[in-house]
Structures are given as C-alpha cells and as structure tokens.
Symmetry: C2
Subunit: 117 residues, 2 copies
Amino acid sequence: MELIQIYECLCDATRLRLLNVLGQGPLCVCHFQEILGEPQVKISKHLAYLRERGLVEVERSGNWMVYELPAKPSRELKANLACLQDCAAENPLFRRDLARLKKLAPKFAGTSPCGCA
Amino acid sequence: MELIQIYECLCDATRLRLLNVLGQGPLCVCHFQEILGEPQVKISKHLAYLRERGLVEVERSGNWMVYELPAKPSRELKANLACLQDCAAENPLFRRDLARLKKLAPKFAGTSPCGCA
DNA sequence: GTTCTATATACTCACAAAGGTATATAGAAC
DNA sequence: GTTCTATATACCTTTGTGAGTATATAGAAC
C-alpha cells in the first residue's frame, strides 16, 4: 500500500520540514542545511529516505544535487502534501523555515545553480 | 509537534484500517477482530498505541471496550482523517473492511452494547 | 465465592530507524 | 594529474516498533 510509505516519510520532524520547504520549489542540500540548521549527513540521509519512497526526485547539477517534489505525484501524495501545507501554515517551526528560505533566497541565487527562489 | 504523533499512528497498515473503520462509528475490540481478521492482541495493542497518542478514545461498557474517534479532534487530526478517508475510498483493502462492517452490522447489533451501526 | 468473557499487559525476539563519526565519491577547478 | 567542494555512504550505538506467546485484569454470570 503506497499510503504507508507516504506516512512513513511524514513521521519524522526533519522530513516534514524538508517537504514543507520543498513546497516552495527545488533546493539543494547545502541550502537545506542553512535553512534547517542541521548537519549535512542528517539532511542527506533523510533526503535519501524520501527519495527511496518516491516523495522527492533528484537531479545533479554540477556538484549540487537538486531535490524537488515529484513532477507527477500520485493522488495520495498530492492529497497528503496539500494537507501538510495546510497544517504547516499554522506551525511556528514550519513558518520559521519558510521565513528563512525567503530571507536567504537572494544569497542562494548568487551561489548555486538550482534557481532557489 | 502534534503532527508527528498523528503521522506515527498513520504509518502502519493495521492502524490505518482501524481508523478507517472507526470513521463509520464507535466499535469494540472483538468486532475489529472480525472485520480485520487479525488476532486480539494485535488489535488491542494497536488501539492502545492510537489511544496513547490521542487518535482514539475509549469507554468501558460492561466487558466491552468501545473505541471511537475523538469527540473534539484537533485541526490537524481532522484534516488528516479527512485525507485518509479520501485516500481509503479508492483502496481495495479499506473498501473490503467497510463492506464487512456493513455486512456484520446486524449481527453486532444483537451481541454487544456498542451500537455498531 | 467460582467461572466465563472481553480485553490489556508483560515478555521475548527480530528488525528498522535515527543520530553521530569517519570516509568515499563525483564533478569542478586548477 | 592534484585539490577542493558538495554530497553520499559505511559503520556503530541507541532506541523504537511489530509480532507472537503467555498471563493478568475487570466485570458479568452464576
């Protein structure tokens, strides 16, 4: 049942934060590091976990690995990501991550090719 | 973060099935057993897991323990249960459980006090 | 009181997950 | 080629989870 794999991905705070930020657009690992304030290995492993279960897709761009939400999400995934967005909008931690993303966006634009907006 | 606890509950097939069936109304353990076709201890432990995290509530009625969804679910819980309902509607296993519930309802009505509809 | 019924809990085992440290890899720059 | 940078992976430890077997508990029936 694919639903389970989705929920497995959603039951960790770090992964929820990654997905929340990804809702704004593609991003590379080092930018996740800055936004979440978590070590590289932790970010990287959780992204691998999400990738193995089809919650994110990756593309290499030079040295950078650019992660994004699936281009064609399943019905279940779409529903759950929408639900997460909805819940995240009221949550301080999630909001703080998005605020940081917004603040760092100009800096990112100059230092990487992933077009972080 | 309460969201995490919700997702922890949702990342197991048995618990998803329990919650799906509970969407139709309160039910006691032995009826879950019949509907899911799983052993008592398994049902009972997963219900305890759900209860500890506030996803279900219990009330004793004689020998029976009647479980139901929270009377006043949080915003997050409400959103996620709705999402689950939505996804479950398209899933064969979930549909089968609901079909069994419907089929067994008359029998339940005669043998227990939980008013399983 | 004893017995029965419905349910919960304790205990075990196997396994997955999360975090940290150290190291490997792939591509870019030189 | 060497070096640097970004990212991934291996390994280890701790903790949590799921399932099963056996046993305990609480109330009902007698």
